[in-house]
């Protein structure tokens, strides 16, 4: 008698994935499918695929699926969840989709506290179109549209979406995980499961950002890509849980504890650099 100890999750189809060798999309797909299976959600789950490398995700998840227009997956998810709150609705979005063209949709979906789960895959580059600069591309990182490296004077700094959304008052579960090592993968799955559990309970909006690799467009072998993620992305994109619905609201320090207004005004107006930011009040 044999016992099946490892198999394909029911929530994945048998369709071979189109992802490049070494790409971590496949891992993340599998984690989602395992969580859906373990929580018994396959028959209630509805996924929303993005525009980007994961555009064909509807072929891989063995559940009802939508294919959304670029960046609008949170709006699509809102529509589905509001009509049928019993559905477990998740979006699967890359960094161009979520952090560039879809910033309005993700911010307001989170701010309305839609009871959906967002899987945000951040590999610091536009993959499908061939390696252009993403909003999450690191400072100095070379891409086809930042051939001399991302110039933060021109393109600004990489956007930290989890931190940005954590600033909203609306309760949410927000975390950043990585899948560049087996230990991190196991950890990521636990966090993802927690995100879905919040939705099952109807508690809050949840988003898990996955740091992910793109060996093809980074020009690295898969092992090199994992090391590059660890060396370059982790310092800028710290892993962790940034917000929980149970957690205290972050409050700024009271004004009384800051230097008083006269101190700020003591900086001579004429000396204020015109193009600089306002960090002159120390």
């Amino acid at each position: 008698m044999t016992e099946l100890v490892f198999g394909r999750p029911r929530s994945l189809t048998r369709v071979p994935m189109h992802y490049c060798p070494g790409c971590t999309h496949g891992v993340i797909h599998r984690l989602i499918a395992e969580v859906l299976d373990e929580l018994g959600l396959q028959g209630r789950a509805v996924g929303v695929a993005p525009v980007g490398c994961a555009v064909f995700a509807y072929n891989y998840f063995n559940i009802d699926m939508y294919e959304a227009s670029h960046g609008r997956a949170p709006a699509v998810a809102t529509g589905a969840k509001r009509t049928h709150p019993e559905l477990i609705v998740f979006t699967y979005q890359g960094d161009g989709d979520l952090a560039s063209i879809g910033t309005a949709e993700i911010v307001h979906c989170a701010n309305r506290g839609e009871k959906v789960t967002v899987v945000f895959v951040n590999n610091a580059v536009y993959g499908m179109t061939g390696g252009q600069m993403a909003p999450t591309t690191l400072a100095g990182q070379v891409t086809t549209t930042s051939p001399l490296g991302r110039d933060v004077e021109q393109a600004g700094y990489p956007v930290r979406m989890v931190e940005m959304l954590a600033a909203l008052r609306t309760p949410a579960f927000l975390a950043r995980v990585s899948v560049h090592s087996p230990a991190r993968i196991i950890q990521a799955k636990a966090i993802l499961r927690r995100a879905f559990e919040y939705q099952v309970k109807g508690t809050c909006f949840s988003m898990v950002e996955f740091l992910s690799t793109c060996p093809t467009n980074w020009g690295l072998t898969p092992p090199e890509a994992c090391r590059w993620l660890e060396t370059h992305m982790l310092p800028y994109y710290p892993l962790g849980i940034f917000k929980t619905p149970e957690g205290p609201e972050r409050t700024p320090a009271p004004l009384e504890s800051l230097p008083d207004a006269r101190g700020v005004q003591a900086v001579p107006a004429a000396a204020a650099p015109t193009g600089a930011n306002g960090e002159t009040g120390e």
Binding site: D64, A75, G79, A80, T83, L87
Partner: protein, 373 residues
């Protein structure tokens, strides 16, 4: 049910509820905001949901998600908002999702103004979004008619699995008129079962629902386009709607106008009749499909055709296509929120008849004369 005096925008909201719509996603914009306000108040009373979206870009995508579960859903907007919705509209058409979108038109281009216009005719009937799609476009001329057409729009949307546009102008939205809701209204189309394709969670009892407009294989996409075309052909065959006034008698000039403008023309027609000038009036109710045949037939009985619009001339192109050069087609338009008066329309008719009496060269001059005069 007794007649009730209602503002057009509120009647649109109530009509949606009567049609079984329980989900509205929208964004405020003058002159249609009362639709959203009305439904924000009314939907919770009937167990429905109102969502104020972050933008008109998000709205049709919310409709996409909501219609994808098989529910009756709608939004309303006005011209600048309609432009923002064009992306989502193309996806809705591509994924064959039924929904109703009401555009209470205001004057453009750009931010334009907030007063009535018919400047979105091309956008509504000839595309607007990218790709090769069509939407039925219904054009009401009264508050009563907008309530009827909104309800029909849901039936048409479900029957064809297609977005349906209701193209009203600011006057329809803002004016109050008596309205009667039919208590025992029957759907205008046989309604298909949506369970076969709606994404409501897959339990293995049907193929997986995939709400999608992506077909990377060109052969697949061509097949999809041809399937859509067959649907649009069926609309052209079965859904043409128009109304005629005074065309059963002899007339010298045929006026073609839609929406509120047709009412102005109707008054002009009555005023002219009192003065012994006989005019026929044809009012397209569906702008897509356009009543080409009816316009051609009615034009054949006249010496000339006059098209009146709140634009610099958009529907006039469809009228020209219908008439095929067999009769001169004249145009009178007002823009920017200005409206033609019955007196001005009557004067246009008289001018056309004077020109025709004066001979061919004067006719050619008259045909070229466009815009407000």
């Amino acid at each position: 049910m007794a007649r009730k005096l209602m503002k057009g925008n509120e009647a649109i909201g109530e009509a949606a509820i009567r049609a079984g719509c329980r989900f509205y996603f929208g964004y405020p914009i003058t002159p249609q905001t009362e639709v959203a306000e009305y439904l924000a108040r009314r939907l919770p009373e009937v167990g429905g949901t109102f969502v104020q979206a972050e933008s008109e870009v998000a709205v049709p995508n919310m409709l996409y998600g909501a219609a994808g579960t098989g529910e009756r859903v709608m939004t309303s907007t006005s011209s600048p908002g309609m432009s923002l919705m064009m992306e989502g509209l193309s996806y809705l058409a591509g994924a064959e999702l039924p929904c109703v979108i009401v555009n209470v038109m205001r004057a453009g281009p750009g931010l334009g103004g907030i007063l009535p216009s018919q400047g979105d005719y091309f956008q509504a009937t000839k595309g607007g979004g990218h790709g090769d799609y069509r939407c039925p476009v219904l054009a009401p001329w009264s508050v009563q008619e907008v309530t009827d057409l909104v309800q029909d729009a849901f039936d048409l949307a479900d029957f064809y699995r297609n977005p349906v546009l209701v193209l009203a102008d600011g006057l329809i939205g803002q004016m109050m008129e008596p309205v009667e809701f039919q208590e025992d209204r029957r759907p205008c189309k046989a309604l298909p079962d949506k369970r076969a394709w709606a994404a409501r969670g897959w339990k293995g009892d049907r193929p997986r629902a995939i709400i999608n407009s992506l077909f990377l294989d060109p052969e697949d996409l061509e097949r999809h386009n041809r399937d859509l075309k067959a649907k649009y052909d069926a609309m052209v065959r079965d859904e043409v709607r128009f109304a005629e006034y005074g065309t059963d008698q002899d007339y010298e000039v045929l006026i073609v106008a839609y929406g509120t403008v047709a009412r102005v023309c109707k008054t002009a027609q009555e005023d002219l009749a009192e003065a012994g000038v006989r005019v026929g009036l044809l009012r397209p109710i569906t702008l897509f499909p356009f009543p080409y045949e009816a316009v051609r037939r009615a034009a054949d009985k006249a010496r000339a055709v006059l098209v009146v619009e709140l634009s610099t001339g958009q529907m006039v192109e469809d009228v020209q296509m219908a008439v095929m050069g067999r009769r001169p087609v004249h145009f009178h338009g007002r823009q920017g929120g200005m409206l033609p008066s019955p007196e001005a329309v009557a004067e246009q008719v008289r001018a056309i008849l004077r020109d025709h009496a004066a001979g061919p060269s004067a006719r050619r001059r008259a045909s070229r004369r466009g815009g407000a005069s």
